[in-house]
């Protein structure tokens, strides 16, 4: 078993109005050091698979077919062994 984490964000050059709104709010609160704020989405699940390469291949397919809109989004997959107690 492995733990899968997919991080999805907007590609560079795609307007992120939510990130902009958060940035202006943080700036209003005095956090002027915060800039270039980007928002995204995190999807986590466990997968009945032990081979990381195979897991990566399957998860990439899931991303391309449903989880990610590759017109505007990029994604990053992290795979970790599930430590069973």
């Amino acid at each position: 078993m492995v733990n899968i984490t997919i991080t999805i964000g907007l590609k560079d050059g795609v307007l992120d109005p939510e990130g902009r709104a958060i940035e202006s709010s943080l700036n209003n609160l005095g956090y002027h050091e915060a800039s270039e704020i980007k928002t995204g989405r995190l999807i986590r699940f466990t997968m009945n698979e032990n081979d990381h390469a195979r897991a990566h291949q399957k998860v990439s397919k899931m991303c391309e077919t449903l989880l990610v809109n590759t017109v505007i989004e990029h994604y990053d997959i992290t795979i970790e062994d599930l430590i069973e107690e």
Partner: protein, 228 residues
């Protein structure tokens, strides 16, 4: 008499409005299909209505685009059938890759619900034959994710092949004429064969005198005539 289908998904909420508008225009109620159906008899025109299919979960239209009925809708389109997709329907069809580009969150981060002025382009496309080049239509939008986006190569292709059907028009000097920040003011596009029309505004909401205008009805008539 054109065979017209309206597909409903969990969360579709403009299906009744479009059904009423179609019935008013043609005198016959369209056929209705539920997203779980995996067969659909031959149709001349398939309509995906507006709404919030699957609660807009994941991305607007993403889950609906993978519904069982969509195989039939795509096959209908590939066969050269006519398709009209409105608002959430447009989002569903871009997610299904039948129309290029995507609909992003509105630039102003607000749900926008108001009349907009549209300008008709490339009226030689089949679905637009009932409209004149440059014709202005006043039709409402109602959406949170209507900010059309496509990469420069796709935009060039859309322009070169005459696939931009409607843009938001600033002709009446409204500084906020583009309600969502859509790139190149794009409000609606057609497929390469001119038979699939996707647009954010709701023609079914300007289709009866009680709506305060009939511009939407003109648009619907154009699509129905083309498919007949």
């Amino acid at each position: 008499m054109a065979r017209i289908a309206v597909i409903s998904f969990p969360g579709s909420n403009c299906d009744r409005d479009i059904i009423t508008a179609i019935r008013d225009i043609t005198g016959t109620a369209p056929n209705q299909f539920w997203h779980k159906e995996s067969t659909m008899p031959r149709q001349d025109l398939v309509i995906l209505p507006g709404g919030f299919s699957f609660g807009d979960y994941l991305r607007c239209g993403a889950i609906a685009a993978r519904s069982p009925i969509m195989d039939e809708v795509l096959e209908h389109a590939w066969r050269g059938g006519y398709v009209l997709v409105i608002c959430n329907g447009f989002q569903i069809l871009t997610e299904a890759d039948l129309l290029p580009g995507t609909l992003m969150r509105n630039r102003g981060l607000r749900f926008v619900c108001r009349d907009v002025l549209l300008e008709t382009h490339n009226s030689d496309n089949a679905v637009l034959t009932g409209l004149k080049e440059g014709q202005k239509l006043r039709i409402p939008v109602a959406h949170n994710e209507g900010n059309y986006f496509a990469d420069p190569a796709t935009l060039k292709k859309l322009t070169d092949k005459g696939q931009i059907a409607f843009t938001y028009s600033g002709a009446d000097q409204d500084p906020d004429y583009n309600p969502n920040g859509a790139i190149n003011d794009i409000a609606g596009i057609v497929s390469e064969n001119g038979r699939v029309l996707g647009l954010m505004p709701h023609p079914e909401r300007k289709a009866d005198p009680i709506h305060g205008g009939l511009d939407g009805r003109l648009l619907l008539q154009s699509v129905i005539e083309a498919a007949s």
